[in-house]
């Protein structure tokens, strides 16, 4: 890498739609809602945008074959003939839009850009995401390969490797989901606003053994957006801006699940992205230095393994280091997903990356909408996303903090 992006780009405005089953909104409504909030937050107007990127996994048509273009955003905002580009990288798409926008600013080509993440999932006519082909389209080999089916492989493998009985393992996962719902309940913009107990989670209807209903995130509509400027200009827009400290994307070669040595208990791509992001941000001990981690918890097991894979504790030590110490609560040693996470805040695929950054941005500004989940003295946080499934991920990490 030629140069680190650290502190070169500032975020001066962010927006996030109400997440949920947005029967009232189409993809352009969601883009507009998030973008207008971000522009207003930055004190700028649509005409001030010089370039834009919109990240989405499925985009405008709610089917994998939808047209792939930035026009969904230019149309929603009626931008006039500026570049607007659609970026796709599965669940990393929102973060990829932010990264593209940040690189656009860092390259000194633009003074003010907009990054959007969006997904409209609830127009398909069925629950869940359906069959997914994260890499090459494999209609026979990949048939019936659902996200829960593929993530649950990791839960079975983790329990087995670390000697947890299914009952013990499910309790560790249940504690994670209880925490997610605790915060989702306290977050006005979240999708799932209901607190749950460990007993409820453990005894919930089975989705994909060993994962039950409360181990799986909601299928959600939503969008998030950010206004980015060169750090040297940031003061023009606001005093409490944040800067990007590190940005890493690790796209795995896609065949780890077919590799006979892979045991499904760690996310290789996340490990690689974390190493790069920590180096860029000059973080030596992430558990000590980071104020908040918003990570990709599409399933409870995803939170567990992502935590370990970002070196926030030793492999296999999650139960001791997080569950038993309650370290992942907002007043704990290493807060994780105090927004409610993908699990409870919701997971509109392309929106989640920028939405996680939105949470960290608001926390640093001391503006968590509900004070009961405001982290004290937070100056830096990490947003993590991963698209695909265990053994075939693209993983992205953004670290943002006070300048």
């Amino acid at each position: 890498m030629r140069e680190s992006i650290k502190d070169k780009v500032a975020i001066v405005g962010m927006g996030c739609t109400q997440f949920g089953e947005r029967w009232d909104a189409d993809v352009e409504d969601l883009i507009k809602e998030a973008s207008m909030e971000a522009l207003e937050d930055a004190g700028v107007e649509i005409k001030d945008i010089q370039a834009g990127w919109v990240g989405t996994g499925r985009g405008s048509q709610q089917v994998p074959m939808g047209p792939c273009s930035g026009i969904i955003a230019s149309s929603a905002l009626q931008t006039q003939y500026i570049p607007f580009t659609r970026v796709e990288n599965l669940c990393c798409s929102g973060q990829e839009a932010l990264r593209a926008a940040a690189l656009g600013v860092a390259s000194k080509c633009y003074d003010l850009v907009l990054a959007i993440g969006v997904e409209k999932l609830k127009d398909t006519g069925y629950g869940g995401l359906g069959e997914m082909y994260p890499g090459n389209w494999q209609p026979i080999y990949g048939a019936l390969g659902t996200p829960p089916g593929r993530y649950a492989l990791a839960a079975t493998a983790y329990f087995s490797k670390y000697g947890l009985s299914p009952q013990e393992g499910k309790r560790v996962l249940a504690e994670i989901s209880v925490k997610s719902h605790y915060y989702g309940y306290r977050n006005p913009k979240s999708h799932l606003k209901r607190e749950i107990t460990v007993e409820e989670a453990v005894n919930a209807p089975m989705i994909c053994w060993p994962l039950g209903l409360y181990d799986c995130c909601g299928v959600t509509d939503g969008a998030s957006a950010a206004v980015l400027v060169p750090t040297e200009d940031a003061k023009k827009y606001r005093d409490d801006y944040v800067t990007i400290k590190g940005f890493a994307v690790s796209t795995g070669p896609g065949w780890l699940k077919e590799n006979e040595d892979y045991d499904f208990t760690y996310w290789k791509e996340t490990q690689e992205a974390a190493k790069v992001a920590y180096a860029e941000a000059e973080i030596k001990d992430p558990r000590k230095e980071l104020g908040l981690v918003e990570l990709h918890d599409c399933f409870s097991i995803a939170e567990l393994i992502a935590t370990e894979s970002m070196f926030l504790c030793e492999p296999g030590k999650f139960r001791e280091e997080f569950t038993e110490k309650r370290a992942y609560y907002h007043d704990g040693e290493m807060p994780v997903d105090v927004s409610g996470g993908l699990k409870s805040f919701g997971h509109p695929i392309g929106a989640s990356g920028a939405r996680e950054v939105y949470e960290i941005y608001k926390q640093i500004q001391g503006k968590a909408e509900e004070p009961s989940r405001q982290i004290k003295d937070i100056t830096i946080g990490l947003a993590h996303n991963q698209g695909g499934h265990p053994g075939m991920f693209v993983s992205g990490i953004a670290i943002i903090g006070v300048p």
């Binding site: 026979i140 080999y141 079975t156 006979e260």
Partner: protein, 472 residues
């Protein structure tokens, strides 16, 4: 002398108790019948029987594959060609489907014999399989089961020499299906018995015995086809066989009437119990009748490692209720499921046919690793695919690394079980698991591969491999 050089059979994992049927339709149920899994059809069951049959044989000596069934999955599109690929046979062979008659299996055996005798084929693989359906709440529904058998016909290492045969053809109509029928139609069985079954079977048996200068007493075991449970008796009597000692059980209480596969399966069962020197008479029926006499040789001893009838009979799971049976055999109109609107591309499968149908993996000659599917570059050492050698993987066994059970999946028989299998000797298969008991799955258990119908996206029967816990 030419004859059978190997045999194999297949009985699907699931059985339906006739008591379960009686609970739905009333009456009394005795025994059980074999039911093909939701992902099985005549073609896939035939592949299973064929793999059992050709295990340990030099596949390159097989010059033809004949498939006999009354339930081919396609009306237009040969089954035998797909089966030849799944059995990983050569491409320069003759394949043919022998359809439309219960008797097509024995006809196929006789035609295979002719090809071998004429010297135009070294060995012919003859497969019979059926998934015949009768109307709900009929005695035939209770009687009909699913299964398959396969034979290699050749003239080296013969285990049962085919000494003679007699065939009769007849235009008689007893059971039939019109081109759009899913379930059989039939005429009153009294006419069938008096005018067709009895006279033709008796004639075929007596003629072949006469031709071979044999009497009923010279026959060690007789395989006598029967359209139902009762008609067989009078033929046995007329032919002069001792029903207890000389007649091979039709397995109606354990497997059911398996259509075109019935006579071949019962013949396999007879061969399993045969010793050198035994003489077996096989009489098959419909559209006339045929009778074949064969003599078992010393080579029969080398057939020991086959699963065949005994092996597959022993491993089974009961269908819990009639609803599952309706699901498996698609006996109702189901709600259209938007989730299931799958697509596929023939081009995609065709490009990768050696993987999808033959289940070849790639062995990297640089690092020695084996990979499935076949990647563009080595996933271990990044060597280019020009350093790959294709290796057959379908017969490998492996151990279960991890699994998940998707209860909400749109599988016909949920949960859909995703299974990661590491092959003994290298390689991994990220696969679906079939023929399994969800309560009895453990990491480390031994897995094997089976050829199944994955789905019917775009109206195409899409076949591929799954793993299953090793049977018996």
């Amino acid at each position: 002398m030419a004859g059978i050089t190997s045999y194999g059979a297949y009985i699907p994992m699931y059985r339906l108790s006739r008591e379960t049927l009686a609970q739905v339709w009333g009456g009394k149920g005795k025994g059980e019948k074999a039911v093909a899994n939701a992902d099985e059809d005549s073609l896939t069951m035939g592949v299973e029987a064929a793999r059992d049959c050709i295990k340990g044989f030099d596949k390159s000596s097989i010059d033809a594959l004949y498939f006999a069934t009354t339930t081919p999955p396609y009306k237009e599109k040969q089954s035998a060609s797909i089966m030849a690929a799944a059995c990983d046979l050569r491409e320069d062979i003759i394949t043919a489907d022998f359809a439309d008659s219960i008797r097509s299996a024995t006809i196929a055996i006789l035609m295979a014999l002719d090809a071998v005798k004429a010297g135009s084929a070294k060995q012919v693989l003859v497969i019979a399989a059926d998934t015949r359906l009768a109307g709900p709440d009929t005695r035939y529904e209770s009687l009909f089961g699913d299964g398959a058998a396969a034979f290699l016909i050749g003239n080296e290492g013969v285990v049962a020499e085919i000494e003679g045969n007699h065939c009769i053809t007849s235009a008689f109509v007893d059971f039939w299906r019109l081109e759009y029928d899913k379930i059989i139609r039939s005429w009153e069985e009294r006419l069938t018995r008096e005018e067709s079954y009895m006279p033709y079977m008796t004639k075929a048996i007596s003629t072949v015995l006469e031709k071979q200068n044999l009497t009923a007493k010279d026959i060690s075991k007789a395989v006598i086809y029967s359209p139902d449970t009762s008609m067989q008796r009078e033929v046995i009597k007329k032919a002069g066989f001792d029903p207890k000692e000389q007649v091979q059980d039709l397995m109606f209480d354990s497997v059911g009437h398996t259509g075109a596969a019935l006579t071949p399966m019962v013949l396999v069962s007879a061969l399993e119990g045969a010793k050198p020197g035994d003489r077996i008479l096989t009489a098959n029926y419909e559209d006339g009748a045929d009778a074949i006499v064969m003599r078992v040789t010393d080579e029969i001893g080398k057939m020991k490692d086959r699963r065949a009838i005994k092996g597959y009979l022993a491993s089974k799971m009961m269908l819990p209720n009639y609803g599952k049976y309706m699901r498996f055999r698609n006996l109702m109109e189901w709600e259209h499921d938007l989730f299931m609107e799958r697509r596929m591309a023939l081009a995609e499968v065709w490009r990768h046919r050696n993987f999808y149908l033959r289940f070849h993996g790639a062995k990297c000659t640089k690092c020695g690793h084996i990979m499935t599917p076949i990647p563009k570059m080595c996933i271990y050492c990044q060597a280019d695919e020009k350093y790959f050698e294709e290796v057959p993987m379908a017969d490998k066994r492996g151990k279960l690394v991890t699994y998940s059970m998707d209860v909400r999946s749109r599988a016909i028989d949920p949960p859909n079980i995703l299974a990661v299998v590491n092959f003994d000797g290298g390689g991994r298969f990220y696969s679906q698991m079939t023929d399994r008991n969800p309560d009895n799955i453990e990491i480390g258990m031994t897995m094997e591969l089976t050829f199944r119908r994955i789905h019917d996206a775009l109206g195409i029967h899409n076949y591929f491999w799954k793993c299953r816990p090793a049977r018996g």
